[in-house]
């Protein structure tokens, strides 16, 4: 283990899993949205729901949605800040049986009409897993720039996506494929060593058979 996993991180308390991890989940979801969030429904499950209030989990999730990091002093005031920015937040409970006991389902609506459903899990320390996007498997940690492509399960789509990356000189660190069934909805998860340029993502979105492209960048957005 890294020295700074032992002494560190610097974080707003009280809990690395229920507070710091929750901020990271919120921030990952905000990045996946890629546009300003105007409405968010946060459905907490398991121990997030049972002990979340005392751990500040709801505030931490919203802080993340606002683009804050786990060491941001404004985390305790995040609900007030969100209200000032006109973001409608609603909390509730979900029963995410197959997920880790610290998990949340976030249903987000963006200023340009984008709708996104993300399930995030806090899996120990302040490490997180983005488990599902729009109901389909995702399972990535947010340690790499990550491309999530939802497409119909037909030949050629994988080649198109990896071809685009290779033209851009982007190296794939890990790749996973999931599908609901033969010929049905499929998803590609590509964790990359470099950031993917915005226009390449837009290009992908226009390809035939590609239903939705979601991109997780390591860079901080200037405006969320």
């Amino acid at each position: 283990m890294n020295v700074f996993d032992i002494i560190g991180p610097i974080m707003v308390g009280p809990s690395s899993s229920h507070t710091a991890g929750a901020v990271k989940i919120g921030k990952a979801a905000a990045k996946l949205m890629g546009e300003r969030i105007i409405r968010a429904q946060l459905l907490l499950s398991g121990s997030f729901y049972a002990t979340g209030k005392g751990h500040g989990t709801p505030k931490a999730l919203v802080a993340g949605l606002l683009g804050m990091d786990p060491d941001d002093d404004r985390i305790p005031e995040s609900l007030v800040i969100a209200e000032k920015e006109g973001i409608k937040i609603q909390f509730g409970q979900a029963d995410l049986q197959e997920m880790h006991s610290n998990s949340v389902l976030m249903i987000l609506e963006g200023a340009h009409g984008r709708i996104l459903e993300v399930i995030g899990e806090s899996i120990g320390g302040s490490r997180i897993n983005i488990a599902r996007i729009d109901g389909l498997e995702a399972n990535f940690s947010g340690d790499y720039p990550t491309l999530v492509v939802h497409n119909s399960d037909r030949p050629g789509h994988i080649a198109k996506v990896t071809g685009m990356l290779s033209v851009q000189g982007i190296n794939i660190a890990a790749m996973r494929l999931y599908r609901q069934g033969r010929g049905q909805n499929a998803v590609m998860i590509l964790e990359c060593d470099q950031e993917i340029p915005k226009d390449s993502i837009e290009q992908l979105e226009k390809m035939e058979g590609i239903e939705k492209v979601t991109y997780y960048t390591l860079e901080d957005a200037d405006e969320l």
Partner: protein, 288 residues
């Protein structure tokens, strides 16, 4: 990381004719692919954040559950207005430990060391040693690397998570790490460092993780005090030449075994021990 046990770390230091902390810095620089100086400065940031967490202590804050807040100030006032039975030096360590742990419960910024629940132990010891004994900041940072090395080895061979190993893994590890750094500060050799850490760990073996209502408050905050004091007295035993009969790495092994055999209700689930008492259930019920 080129060492997996305390013994290996010491052997590396001996064969390279370096200090314990220097090996920890060097190995970290290699794994991050950077320079030792940068790693050292990164740790300085951690130490400065620890200092801020004490400077910014607010005695008027309450935790969201309402269970915690204000005890650090109570301790400080007692010390100022009485002749404290634990003496001035230990009393300052006690109040610093509470202040940091309370700040954590009140959603203030702290440094997890090794966890948020045990965040008060190391700063309590190191800040007071720096202020009261006049150590240079650089030497305190070296001591932080001593602590980090011990923590790495515990994490690798046992655990630093209450959910996996009970509170011995959090407060126990923090206390062992702090004891090692005190032995180093006080001029102990590597044997002293190892045995200080080991004696501290042994004193806390078997400690359950049983937080009331599942929150990092009761008993966590006050355990930071006992973890910090235990670190100082264990270091003093080691500096006096007292040795743990069971060798350091075997004690860490015992800690891992105890963690495995500990029932789940005592591993951060908030369902056993103190968390299962009548009063804890009333508190938990009122928060739901």
């Amino acid at each position: 990381m080129n060492y997996k046990t305390l013994q290996e770390l010491v052997s590396l230091a001996q064969s390279e004719e370096k200090e314990f902390w220097e090996i920890v810095v060097k190995e970290e620089a290699i794994s991050q692919n950077t320079q030792s100086e940068l790693v050292f400065e990164q740790m300085r940031k951690m130490y400065q954040a620890m200092k801020r967490s004490v400077d910014q202590y607010d005695p008027n804050l309450k935790s969201p559950s309402g269970m915690s807040g204000g005890d650090g100030e109570r301790m400080r006032r007692y010390r100022m207005n009485n002749e404290p039975i634990a003496g001035d030096f230990l009393s300052k360590i006690m109040e610093t430990a509470i202040m940091v742990a309370e700040s954590n419960a009140c959603m203030k910024k702290i440094v997890a060391a090794p966890t948020a629940g045990s965040c008060g132990v190391l700063p309590a010891v190191l800040l007071v040693f720096e202020a009261e004994k006049g150590f240079r900041e650089d030497r305190i940072i070296e001591a932080l690397f001593v602590a980090a090395g011990i923590g790495q080895i515990i994490a690798l061979n046992a655990s630093i998570s209450g959910a996996v190993g009970g509170c011995q893994a959090e407060i126990g590890s923090a206390s062992a790490m702090s004891a090692g750094s005190v032995a180093y500060l006080e001029g102990g050799d590597m044997e002293d460092i190892l045995h200080a850490a080991t004696l501290a760990l042994k004193n806390l073996l078997g400690l359950a993780c049983d937080p009331v209502a599942g929150l990092v408050e009761v008993p966590c905050i006050k355990r930071n005090v006992s973890g910090a004091i235990n670190a100082v007295v264990s270091a003093q035993m080691a500096l006096a030449g007292i040795r743990s009969v069971i060798p350091p790495d075997e004690v860490i092994g015992a800690m891992a075994a105890i963690g495995r055999e500990m029932p789940v209700c005592l591993k951060e689930t908030g369902t056993g021990g103190l968390a299962a008492t009548k009063t804890a259930k009333i508190i938990a019920g009122s928060l739901a």
